[in-house]
Amino acid sequence: MDMQVAKKKLGLKERYAVMTRGLDWVPSYQKMEDIYPYMSYEGIKIHDWDKWEDPFRLTMDAYWKYQAEKERKLYAVLDAFNQNNGHLNVTDARYINTVKLFVSGISPLEYVAHRGFAHAGRQFPGAGPRVACLMQSLDEIRHAQTQVHAVANYNKYYNGMHDFHHAHDRVWFLSVPKSFFDDAITAGPFEFMVSIGFSFEYVLTNLLFVPFVSGAAYNGDMGTMTFGFSAQSDEARHMTLGLEVIKFILEQDPDNLPIVQRWIDKWTWRGYRVLTLVAMMMDYMLPKRTMSWKEAWEIYFEENGGALFKDLARYGITMPKCAEQIALEKDHLSHQAWSTFYNYAAAANFHTWVPDEDEMAWLSAKYPDSYDKYYRPRMEYWREQAAKGNRFYNKTLPMLCQTCQIPMVFTEPGDPTKICYREVDYKESKYHFCSDHCKAIFEHEPEKYVQAWLPVHQIYQGNCFPEGTDPTVEGFDPLAAVLDYYHFESGRDNLDFEGSEDQKNFDAWRGMATKNV
């Protein structure tokens, strides 16, 4: 793809510079602040956009060539997967619930990332970061689409994902990932880059993306695994962009440090709360486990992240304070989350179950300080009750945290027997929080977080019933009306895995391949 330069031979760096920032100019017919109107309100000071170091140097010709090659391979695998009933290769049908969680919770975020990077890639006055952001915007629509295309085949055979776009905008627990990305894209362009580019893509990606992809690999899901690996070389570019953004901002002006530090603190915590879903996926939903949530946190955050923050210390950045609380929660997070979904299985688009004896033994071994003491008895009790025909479904709606929107199910740091509640009075109203960190995030920007569309509040206000519903008629079943609003088919999309249509179909279909019927 490289040209031979007829005249003076340009080095790679110079060549890339004439291919990108050399195209830019300082406008004179319109004012800079009119062309780039969002550059000052966050308080970040940039003196010289030319100091930006391009994190990667990819001209469009090379981009098209590499990416097309990857797409060709990926779609060949997906086609083969579809033709050969690849879905029947997964460890067992419980695994497919991971796919449902992924496509309804995560894939729509890839789309928001696409739009968010288009916005950032338009707004920065520096040509270098603009090009890098736009390339990421293009990658992100790839991720959103390849995920939908990969999952499309599962949707043909299994329940729970048939209307995932609709669900993402409405379902109670999906407001957790949705509000996270809404929060990022509604922030200013610099905060967006710190939240998504750095905190999410750089610090937390190994805890989000990698567990799903390795989970897929361990559980025989070729489709998901292939798009995951195919996306990895994009991710490598995104990570270098995230890191360059932080370094660039911090090197530009010392006044930027406290702003950036606050963003890193906020987004590490926001991101971690979203990872609650991943934690329970790793510990409970993968029939064949890759590693425990706790191990993943220790390796990817405490060790790798620790090294990163040591490296950033030269800029004055310190490890986010919330890391201390996260360390206290790591023995509890996944168990509390799975318990919550077990409770609310009537209102989720995936199935839950009590772990079997072997899985409980695995949990005891991975969580020697907490599982047997706090969580095993609870799950054994549920199992007993279910055996007697009393599978427990909680039909009372939980209070949600105003910031992270997770039901208030987390316990006090250091005391796993006591639910943690925090509250703030703001303009005549009381707001509730799951933690000091969510409370602090609210207090810094109350006007933003009072806007949150909290699913439970909305249900109680009557905003989550299908149009034309009359809640005053006799025998009105609010849960059924909410499920209608979600487009869930009660009895197929929700409830326990045991006895589900997915379970029956998977067994029957696999039986056709392995037995002579």
Binding site: K7, G22, D24, S28, Y41, L88, G121, A152, H162, D169
Partner: protein
Amino acid sequence: MHIDLRTVTIKPLRHTFDNIARRLGADKPATRYQEGTLDMQQTANFHYRPTWDPDHQIYDASRTAIKMADWYAFKDPRQFYYGAYTMARAKQQDTAEANFDFVENRNLADTLPADVRATVLELLVPLRHVAWGSNMNNASICAYSYGTAFSQPGIYQAMDQLGIAQYLTRVGLLLGGVESLEVAKTSWMEGDAWQGLRRYVEDCMVIKDPVELFVAQNVALDGLLYPLVYETIVDDVLSAKGGTPVAMLTQFMTDWFTETKRWTDATMKTAAAESDENKAILAKWVIQWRDRAAAALLPVARIALNERTDALVAEVVQQFDARLIKSGVPL
């Protein structure tokens, strides 16, 4: 244990996602374009308003004066989702690469008549800045328009224009070395011939209405610039003077315009067909930006066309009008 799953024939529970089935009117297999496009953008229950634009939702159809009952009425006739898009461009890139190789290996650049070379350096190389402006404007279209059917081609167009800016940069490097880029930039910033066009591009950068920006950039400016520069000047005028190698170096742009024009035409057609109000707004924008673009392109075209400029520009405008009228825009 290896299980041969291919032997199993099972009846699927459904053929596509519900949102697609609702739009297709039946549960039937959907294309990858449909599954990758329809309803991809979130539409309901946004949590916060943008701190950078509190008057609007994150995605907000009211950012434009154009009104659509359904923003998924727009369809990209190329059916570009990311995979189809990159594969199409990679193929064109192969051709472009072969063309550059052909010109370079045979030293065809050195055989160009001096006046053709001068015209290319004076006319084509500053256009890399115009393409760069289009990259920014299409980033805006992608970021602030409503519905993936409309916004998605915006990012492809943005990156195409970056690619075009880079091809033009290579043309400059090949024919005039790195100095030619500096000379072209000076013309762009200060040369009389270029100031109307630069003003046009900068004025586009402050348009807030994404559909108006689409009209100003993709319909009006590119709709005149590409036929004028690549079809008329490069393919006809310069080729007749021994400049065929130049046409090889810009084949990507010629092919690209032929292709993308199908999308811009389809988009205008859908928006105009929606209502008389839309027709009137589109016509107003088209006329206003067409007239400005034509005026801005005149002195630029004169670099190559001399006394034939007015006639040829008028011809291009006429063809442009015919195109738009065919799309249902009353001019």
